[in-house]
């Protein structure tokens, strides 16, 4: 067992964990942060994407012990003061989700993408989200949503 301290969605946790415990299982099974789903076992689908110290990672490819001392943001911590993040709003507005299973990961990957490129082209969004699979939407509306959020965020944070 290893002792870790980690902040998840603004709350500090200290826990003893098996060294092999995956971050995503720590979030889901130990902390009850079930907003982050699991879609595969080979780090291909991106469903489990969270932000680790502000950058997107696939939480199924990170050990809980590697998150020691880090700040984790999951989909449950993306809204602030009850107000949805512009990316959440844009996904809703553009109908960028159907079953919604890929959505938490898509939203967090998009937030990270927009940090690097606040005005991405369609192609940049498609390339940037390559690691996140969606079986329902065919991606058109996801691309629209990310670009809409980008526009929104440029307006609100000049």
């Amino acid at each position: 067992m290893a002792r870790i301290s980690v902040k998840v969605d603004g709350i500090a946790y200290e826990d003893d964990v098996e060294p092999r415990l995956l971050l995503v299982h720590y979030l889901r099974d130990r902390l009850g942060k079930t907003g982050t789903p699991i879609g595969c076992d080979t780090t291909n689908c991106g469903a489990c994407t969270v932000l680790l110290d502000g950058r997107s990672v696939k939480s199924c490819s990170v050990l809980a012990v590697q998150a020691d001392g880090c700040d984790v943001t999951t989909i449950e911590g993306v809204s602030s003061n009850g107000e949805w993040h512009p990316v959440q709003k844009a996904f809703h507005e553009e109908h960028a989700l159907q079953c919604g299973y890929c959505t938490p990961g898509m939203i967090l990957a998009s937030i990270d993408l927009l940090k690097d490129d606040p005005d991405p082209s369609e192609d940049a969004v498609r390339q940037g989200l390559e690691g996140n699979l969606c079986r329902c939407t065919g991606y058109c509306n996801i691309v629209r949503a990310v670009r809409r959020a980008a526009q929104e965020m440029r307006v609100t944070t000049p």
Binding site: E18, R20, H25, R28, D29, K33, T34, G35, T36, P37, I38, G39, C40, D41, T42, N44, C45, T74, I75, E76, V78, W84, Q88, F91, H92, E93, E94, H95, L97, Q98, C99, G100, Y101, C102, T103, P104, I107, E122, V125, R126, Q127, L129, E130, N132, L133, C134, R135, C136, T137, G138, Y139, C140, N141, I142, V143, R144, R147, R148, A150, Q151
Partner: protein, 803 residues
């Protein structure tokens, strides 16, 4: 019209979207309502089955067969039992007396061979991945760890992996009864006369590769019991069907079994199943008295969630010299896999009535043989039978055009059912109630810039450009809205095709709709609210839709086959009609008028010719209080309706795809994709557009990327998402979509269903485009998926007969 394709500006797209949202004259139906479902999904407050944690819950892990075909000679679970955290270890033998056989509800012929299908193998394994034992432990890691301590000895048997070889005399057998499950025939008209001295006969064989449905949420099951009653949560499309089937399989009485489909992360047919794991989790919880959970890994799922397609299609067409079709003959081999699951044998039959497509002909002849192999069973996958049929006929229409020497669009126009000919009874005996192929096609051609692209194509051909342009057409129709119960009965299906709805009016005038459909991404909570809001004149926000729990929704046939709106939505309409009729009685009584003088619109009952009125909310409260109701009036406005459709519905459309194929590398890039679909009237254009987008993506995936590959020993090679290529955003283009609206005449909403249309249409559009690009090189077929390697090899070997 190519500006449309280039209109990339986000602002433009947003305007287009928001224009959809403009309410049309106070009406909800037709409005691009943003979905009610989204709030929990974008904030992570979802209820996936795997989220469920119950006190004392145990975790199940399955040991799966590494052999495609073998006899189990020894099982030793003793070492596994001693592992940390292990509560129980079971093999097939431990459940042999109670596990029954997984059901097949569709014996398509009287002599269909339906082998015993034990949820956990007892004596013989017949595909890689079949469950042979399981561990029940305190957490998922402990359960997985202990699997390695189970010892099983196998005596290998020769696997059957190829359908044609399977049917040859004297080879190995999957089951004692042999490798043929059934042969089903269907015919209309005189096929011999059609082919006799026909000026043109074309004969092709197409391979429908095996696909893995790949819903993003892996399956998960939670089972619990209080010793008498059982509750099963499952990531399923069919909680109602599942409850009946599990009751029949396990012997748990139906009234003591509650099945819940909580939030379900996609299905596409793959969760239209009664699975071994669902049965076994119930048996384990019954045995141990503890709640248990099983969640599959993706690699496990790729092996053991039923696969789709896998057919070998021989299709022949006879035509006149001008290209008019005389007859079509289809001979199909359909790979059942190792067992028949819920509707395995019925899948090819759903395609049997669709090989004629949108075309007129004098004769049709269809034969399908279901073949057992040592592979995962196949079953419904988005479109189920109809994508295969559409692929074959649309590919063949292109071949016919080449043979006759006309443009492929022209050959279609010469043969399709004219708008003026509807309703039209096809050679298969189906009556297509409505359609307008000309309108959808004309709009698609304009959006696509067809003539300009053809001009560019000839230019590139003349220049011997290494990158060739190809244009693919698919003018498809499909039969959906499954299904008229009588027709299902005539096809030997084990159940009906009706759907049920309850509409409850609460004291405050809010409305609860209980639907028998079971959405898993389709947005029924939103669309049904729109329908009810219009019908009862209540605000959209005042409607809640309940579904997916047999305790709240006792009656339903669930969601598949693009049936939810066309069958389930109509049940909602009928239930609302009954509510209004009751409310009219109360309103008339309260306003001291004759019910005949009371009219209803926009939520208000008015006495004709007076200013007197009452809102439906006032009537709701008065009915709740029940102080002053008509004599003998039962104090409730609630009503139920069960709707059984009289006919299928027939969406149609024209999909056009332009590809650039690099003849030096074999790489294909989709340059533009235009889809004009006619799904009848539309409840929510945003949801319809989303369904079309997703459908197109899955159809393109079959054309270009996906294939479940088994090696010569029967091992599945594509167990991960690194090997089985579900396309990402980077792999797909933007789609230009539009609609024509020719209302269905068979239901009061005029709707046709949209869940499968995109998938059915897009695969042939893409492959037709690739073949079109390569025709100057002598290519007339490329086997799917048309990977760069396949295209490259086909170019070098010429032709394109299936390997």
């Amino acid at each position: 019209m190519t500006e449309q394709l280039d209109a990339g500006a986000v602002a433009q797209q947003i305007r287009e979207h928001d224009a959809l949202d403009a309410p049309g004259g106070g009406s909800e139906v037709g409005r691009a309502r943003r979905r009610k479902e989204d709030a929990r999904l974008v904030t992570g407050r979802t209820q996936w089955t795997d989220n469920i944690q119950l006190p004392g819950m145990l975790h199940v892990a399955f040991l799966r067969s590494p052999m495609a075909h073998a006899r189990i000679t020894r099982v030793d679970t003793s070492a596994a039992r001693t592992r940390r955290g292990v509560v129980g270890v079971f093999s097939g033998q431990d459940f042999a007396g109670e596990q029954g056989s997984l059901p097949c509800a569709w014996p398509v012929t009287a002599d269909t061979v339906i082998p015993e299908h034990p949820p956990m193998a007892v004596t013989t394994v017949r595909y890689v991945g079949e469950a042979v034992a399981c561990v029940v432990a305190v957490d998922r890691y402990a359960a997985a760890d202990a699997l390695e301590a189970i010892e099983i000895d196998y005596e290998p048997l020769e696997p059957v992996l190829d359908m044609t070889e399977a049917l040859a005399e004297g080879g190995p057998k999957v089951h004692e009864a042999g490798n043929e499950s059934f042969t089903w025939k269907f015919a209309g008209g005189d096929i011999e006369a059609a082919f006799h001295e026909a000026p043109v006969v074309i004969d092709r064989t197409y391979v429908q590769q095996r696909l893995i449905p790949s819903a993003m949420e892996p399956r998960a099951v939670v089972a619990q019991t209080d010793g008498d009653h059982f509750t099963l949560h499952s990531s399923t499309q069919i909680p109602h069907v599942l409850r009946v089937m599990l009751a029949l399989t396990t012997g748990i009485p139906e009234h003591k079994l509650r099945v819940i489909a909580p939030d379900v992360g996609g299905g596409f047919g793959s969760k239209l199943q009664v699975t071994a794991e669902e049965v076994l989790c119930l048996l384990i919880t019954r045995r141990l008295g503890k709640p248990v959970k099983w969640t599959e890994s993706r690699s496990e799922g790729n092996m053991t969630v039923h696969h789709g397609r896998d057919q070998l299609q021989n299709i022949r067409v006879a035509a006149d010299a001008d290209g008019r079709i005389r007859g079509v003959q289809v001979k199909l081999l359909a790979d059942m896999g190792a067992y028949l699951m819920l509707v395995t044998p019925g899948v090819p039959l759903l395609g049997a009535f669709m090989y004629n497509g949108v075309y007129k002909m004098d004769a049709y002849d269809f034969t399908c043989t279901g073949v057992f192999t040592n592979k995962m069973p196949t079953d419904a996958y988005r479109g189920a039978g109809r994508p295969e049929a559409t692929y074959a006929i649309e590919r063949l229409m292109d071949e016919l055009a080449v043979e006759i020497g006309v443009d492929p669009m022209e050959i279609r126009r010469r043969n399709w059912i004219q708008h003026s000919e509807f309703p039209y009874t096809t050679i298969c005996g189906l009556t297509y109630d409505s359609g307008n192929y000309e309108a959808a096609t004309d709009r698609a051609l304009a959006l696509f810039g067809y003539d300009k692209l053809r001009a560019e194509q000839s230019d590139r051909r003349e220049r011997h450009d290494p990158v060739q342009l190809g244009i693919g057409i698919s003018t498809y129709t499909e039969m959906c809205g499954l299904a008229p119960s009588r027709v299902l009965g005539s096809l030997s299906y084990g159940a009906g095709g009706w759907e049920h709805a309850d509409v409850r009016v609460l004291p405050t005038g809010k409305v609860e709709v209980v639907t028998g459909t079971s959405p898993h991404g389709q947005g029924h909570e939103t669309a049904w609210s729109q329908i009810v809001a219009d019908s009862l004149g209540v605000p959209f926000e005042d409607v809640a839709v309940l579904h997916g729990d047999t305790a709240t929704s006792h009656k339903g046939m669930d969601t598949y086959g693009s049936r939810s709106l066309v069958v389930g939505g109509i049940a909602v309409v009928h239930a609302c009609d009954k509510v209004k009729e009751k409310a009219r009685q109360v309103a008339a009584h309260l306003m001291e008028a004759s019910p005949d003088d009371v009219e209803f619109s926009e939520g208000r009952f008015r006495v004709r010719g007076t200013g007197t009125s009452q809102t439906i909310q006032e009537i709701a409260l008065a009915t709740f209080a029940a102080h002053n109701l008509p004599d003998g009036f039962e104090p409730r406005l609630d009503a139920s309706a069960t709707f059984d459709p009289e006919n299928f519905s027939f969406p149609h459309g024209t999909h056009l795809c332009a590809v650039e194929v690099d003849t030096e590398t074999g790489a294909t890039a989709i340059r533009s994709y235009v889809a004009v679909d006619d799904v009848g009237n539309v409840i929510n254009p945003l949801i319809v557009e989303g369904q079309v987008h997703g459908g197109i993506a899955q159809g393109i995936a079959q054309a270009l990327f996906e294939e479940a590959v088994y090696d010569s020993d029967g091992n599945l090679l594509t167990t991960t998402m690194a090997d089985y290529l579900v396309p990402s955003a980077a792999d797909l283009p933007n789609f230009t979509t539009d609609r024509t609206e020719t209302p269905a005449t068979t239901n009061p909403l005029g709707v046709k269903g949209v869940g499968e249309a995109g998938t059915i249409a897009s695969t042939p559009a893409v492959v037709n485009a690739i073949v079109d690009a390569l025709r100057p090189h002598g290519v007339h077929d490329v086997r799917m998926p048309c990977t760069p390697e396949r295209v490259w090899r086909t170019l070098r070997t010429g032709g394109g007969e299936p390997a």
